[in-house]
Amino acid sequence: MAAAGAAGSGGRTYSFKVVLLGEGCVGKTSLVLRYCENKFNDKHITTLQASFLTKKLNITGKRVNLAIWDTAGQERFHALGPIYYRDSNGGILVYDITDEDSFQKVKNWVKELRKMLGNEICLCIVGNKIDLDKDRHVSVEEAESYAESVGAKHYHTSAKLNKGIEELFLDLCKRMMETAQAEERAKGNGASQSASSRRGVQIVDDEPQATPAGGCCSSG
């Protein structure tokens, strides 16, 4: 929810929705799984949280809840994209550095996201699989200059080696927080700030799956 993005202004809790886009085999799922659970190619799914993952962060004293929405990577499902990326605060567009075609797909997504969501959404273009640098087919210069030209940031990652992933998400969160703060300022300082923040926190904390110790009372 775009609205939830800035929620809890007084309580300093941000809830952001981040959508994950990219072709089927670029490793976007591994990337986010590595980040959220620090696992790579784990064969054990215990919870349903497989294509939907959450992460709680604390950035300079402000609480951030990330909800990461994975999308179907097959080209034939491209048209379903808008259903998933609506109201996103951030977008992570992943390509495989050994696959030129997957980079082209990223360009298509960028165009579409900018058209549908405007400049509000913080975009990250991610070249994954840098452990396979010897087979690189997308040049660093090309990718970086492209990212700059569309107002996105470029990152290099390896889900396999757990490289560059923390930085990517931390950076993205900071950018989304700046955007949310700018939005708040633009809206003007609401008169009922203190009172509304109380409710805001309530609303944000309401997500049941975001509570890690959810069972503490049900058993007690």
Binding site: M1, I45, G73
Partner: protein, 404 residues
């Protein structure tokens, strides 16, 4: 929560018979195994006393927010097993339930756990739903069904589900993973039938999550070739096999009536996936296939829905409007076929029949004036909670019992 307790003090004075009953009770409320039991017979009383009532009536005794951990321990070690109190943790500002669990006199005989206040919101929300949505479910469903019959999507979905079912469905939907077998599909079908029966969007979405869990499980363990990209095809396959086009109505019901924070969470994600599946199924069998799963109409409808619900969430925050208020207004605005007066009448009818008169007049007051004070809203919350939560608890619909 605090305001509800304050309100309750007033309420308590009004119900003196309740106080008298409580006079001969021990100083602290007792519960066993953390589960507060109903011990006295309900018969003979004009108004049955539920667990919640009892908690509300005795809260000055057990609600000791100013106590620290040591004092709580000190007090509880002098009380029998099962005695509890609630204090507030000064560092986290959360309420803590302290419960005497064993007879020994060590510190470990008192167990402490944080109270998830979110749970009370959930209970409240369910109560609200049963109050407002139960009478509205039928008209809303009828309106949605009529709408989709008119725009042709129901027919398209029904027709495509029938065509795809059976041989070739896996291939046509792009399934590359394991899928649930016939027996599991039957279980999914049962879940969908249950989903159609309940009026609560939260219960519906929880059932939906169970369905998605079946699909995930059947997809098999993850390896190089199988990724979660394959979830959507597998889900679509199951939906086709279940052959229940009514799912479209269910999905829209949830999309409209779930609280905005739910839409951004896991429930929202899987709801979105089911919606995407339904769009996919509708788009198949078209000529040419796969050319744009979303018709311009669907795209517009989505955009309209998304901006409307976002706006609503913002408004709710800005005006500090209670969820109850938003929900009523939302229900009123939801569809043209349900006229405001109709809603008012339904709600009033329902409440005067099943609940106290005071509640219905409050509801009407809420509907007629958009600027109800915070105090009134809290009172309203309390009236609903006290009149409905016990009923729900009694019928066993609330799974987790933390009615603080």
């Amino acid at each position: 929560m605090k305001t509800r307790y304050q309100k309750n003090r007033r309420h308590q004075r009004e119900r003196t018979h309740g106080e008298q009953r409580n006079k001969d009770k021990p100083a602290l409320m007792s519960c066993r195994g953390g589960y507060i039991r109903e011990t006295e017979p309900r018969a003979g009383l004009q108004r049955a006393f539920s667990v919640l009532d009892r908690l509300l009536l005795t809260h000055p005794v057990w609600l000791q927010l100013s106590l620290n951990q040591d004092s709580a321990l000190y007090i509880l070690l002098r009380e029998p097993i099962g005695t509890f109190l609630v204090r507030k943790c000064s560092s986290s500002q959360r309420k803590v339930l302290c419960l005497r669990v064993t007879a020994d006199r060590s510190a470990s005989s008192v167990k402490e756990c944080f109270i998830c206040e979110e749970d009370s919101n959930l209970a409240l929300e369910r109560a609200m739903f049963s109050c407002i949505l139960r009478p509205l479910k039928c008209p809303l469903e009828k309106a949605l069904t009529a709408f989709h019959n008119q725009d042709g999507s129901t027919q398209l979905l029904t027709q495509n589900m029938l065509r795809l079912k059976g041989n070739g469905a896996m291939e046509r939907l792009g399934v590359r993973t394991g899928v649930p077998d016939i027996r599991e599909v039957e279980r999914v079908k049962q879940k969908l039938i249950l989903m159609q029966r309940t009026h609560s969007p939260i219960d519906k979405v929880l059932l939906l999550l169970q369905v998605c869990k079946f699909v995930h499980k059947a997809m098999g363990t993850l390896h190089e070739d199988v990724s979660w990209d394959d979830f959507l095809p597998a889900l679509s396959y199951v939906i086709v096999e279940c052959n229940r086009p009514q799912l479209l109505i269910e999905v829209e019901y949830m999309m409209e009536l779930l609280e905005p924070s739910w839409l951004g969470g896991e429930g929202g994600y899987y709801l979105t996936s089911v919606y995407a599946s339904l769009c996919l199924i509708q788009s198949l069998e078209q000529d040419p296939p796969f050319s744009g799963c979303l018709t311009p109409q669907v795209q517009d409808a989505l955009k309209e829905w998304s901006s409307r619900r976002t706006l609503e969430a913002q408004k709710q925050k800005e005006t500090q409007q209670s969820q109850v208020g938003t929900l009523i207004l939302h229900a009123i605005n939801f569809t043209d076929t349900v006229q405001p007066y109709h809603t008012v009448r339904l709600v009033a009818n329902f409440l005067s029949k099943e609940s106290q008169l005071i509640a219905s007049s409050l509801w009407l007051c809420r509907i007629h004036s958009s600027c109800m004070s915070l105090w009134q809203q809290n009172l309203l919350h309390f009236v609903i909670a006290s009149s409905l939560i016990p009923q729900i608890e009694h019928s066993g619909k609330v799974e987790r019992k933390t009615s603080f």
